[in-house]
């Protein structure tokens, strides 16, 4: 009796180890890319910490990672960080929303209508060639150093990539698909909504991502030019008070926030463009 039972037990052992092996390889595949992505940053951070501690790097210019973490946790503990994040996010969300709304209306119009393009595009293109930072003093003059001028600056930065991508996207919609709509009686707004806009969605989403990236750039500019809150203010404050750890904290937070908001758009793109028949590499 002992023979067979030992045999089955052994068999069960091998199969369960087989299962755990497969589970392991699945988990490994999933974490492998995350691991590879984090490998070099981890090594760099460790080297940085060690070199600061050994006195090889000047800690008053390059705060040690441990100091940055402790400064960050202080900011979290006293609630200041949350306030800064709130301000910055409010500005970027408001600026992005206004910029995207204006760019969507104008981009759809100039892409779809030749008359609209002839009337508006030269003007918008020439406004685009003004370096955006040149607007800063004017916005301050017109709107004052307050939320309005900041949000306007961000909206301006967001506007152009979204506008250009949508206009080009609409203009480059396959004529053959538009003809299908025309032949079945679609025209004007209905044609736009049913065929032209969905067909230009991929270009539009690229525009949104580029717009968001510029939005983050402009939020820094806006907060540096005069603010009492926000991540950009944190950066300037760190500089003024000689605390590089604070400056590093702000920079790291910008990186994290930018990446997170971009991932949201990437996620939406993947969802909305599932119909695309593309080579994913």
């Amino acid at each position: 009796m002992a023979g067979p039972s030992a045999f089955t037990k052994a068999a069960a052992d091998t199969s369960s180890s087989g299962i755990s092996q497969t589970l392991f390889s699945v988990a490994w595949a999933r974490w492998r890319s995350a691991f590879l992505g984090l490998l070099i940053p981890t090594i760099l951070v460790a080297a940085w910490e060690i070199l600061v501690r050994l006195g090889q790097i000047d800690g008053s210019l390059f705060s040690s990672p441990a100091l940055i973490v402790s400064e960050l946790s202080k900011l979290i503990a006293n609630g200041a960080l949350l306030q800064h994040l709130e301000s910055t996010f409010f500005r970027i969300v408001a600026g992005f929303a206004i910029g995207v709304l204006a760019a969507t209306l104008l981009g759809a119009l100039t892409g779809f209508s030749k008359l609209g393009r002839q009337l508006l595009d030269p003007l918008l293109q020439s406004l685009r060639s003004i370096p955006s930072m040149a607007w800063v003093p004017l916005f301050i003059l017109w709107l004052g150093i307050n939320e309005n001028s900041k949000i306007c600056l961000i909206a301006l930065g967001v506007f152009f990539p979204v506008y250009l991508n949508l206009m080009n996207g609409v203009q480059n919609v396959d004529r053959k698909l538009v003809e299908v709509g025309l032949a079945t009686g679609f025209h004007g707004v209905q044609l736009m909504r049913t065929i032209v806009l969905p067909a230009s969605l991929p270009a539009y989403l690229v525009g949104l991502r580029q717009g968001l990236a510029l939005g983050w750039m402009f939020v820094v500019a806006a907060e540096i030019m005069g603010a009492s809150r926000g991540l950009g203010y944190l950066l300037i404050d760190g500089e003024a008070t000689g605390r590089p750890a604070i400056m590093f904290s702000a920079v790291i937070l910008f990186a994290i926030c930018g990446k997170l908001t971009d991932s949201v758009l990437v996620g939406l793109s993947e969802r909305w463009l599932r119909w695309q028949d593309v080579y994913k590499g």
């Binding site: 053959k176 698909l177 003809e179 299908v180 709509g181 025309l182 032949a183 079945t184 009686g185 679609f186 025209h187 209905q190 049913t194 065929i195 969905p198 067909a199 969605l201 119909w275 695309q276 028949d277």
Partner: protein, 274 residues
Amino acid sequence: MAPLAGCLQGLSMLRLRKIGKQFENGTTALSEVNLEIAPRAIVSVVGASGSGKSTLLRIISGLEAPTTGELFWHGLPIDGPRRDIGFIFQEPRLMPWLTVTANVRLGLGPIQQGKGRRRLSLLHQKASANSESLAHDLVSEAIRRVGLDRFAYAFPRELSGGMAQRVAIARALVARPSLILLDEPFSALDAVNRLKLQNHLLKLWETDRPTLLIVTHDVEEALVFGDRVIVLNGDPGRIKDDYLIELPRPRNRIGPEFQYWKETILKSLDPSLV
């Protein structure tokens, strides 16, 4: 005689009078084309590439305006695309972001697209609910007729070339148009699929017999379909010959009469050939 002439005019659903088309670059695609098409007929148009046959279809569909001449649809001038004229293109031209069902639904035109998008009075809501279920029935019926029930919710990228073209046929049939224009509808398919789809389309035609106007460069295809075969001469496009083909259906592709007509039409296309 006058009343009789009136009756005869009533018989033609589509009338083209001295249609000419000149493109902006100066080339003349069509010149002085006169054509009358009776209801429930199948008319094939053959011609070499560049003979203006696609342009002719695009003018009838309303996608392009003629430079000269007039078109009449049941006696009234045509000034743009109409829902009772369907169009099947050379390529399927499906919207890649829509399922098969939604693509076929496009054939019903703009008013049937909203799914409870509009807020209307209660009475209107009831009416729109009725038209919604009617639209749904028409669409699933059209998909069933082309044999794609199992793919009703597939996306175009999941379909083969022949299946995609069948979706395009369903999209053209769904609104039950009385005239369907076909621009070399099978030329992008392989030989087997072409034969299958030709037979399938003829079978679909049998049920409610819409008028078909098929443009093709394939003489055999023209003869399999046409009650009439019109030969277009290129540069500029004019009607050269207009043959009445009185062969029984289904057409026997290897019968001697079929071969006779094939030779006659080829000779008309290019006298140096035969």
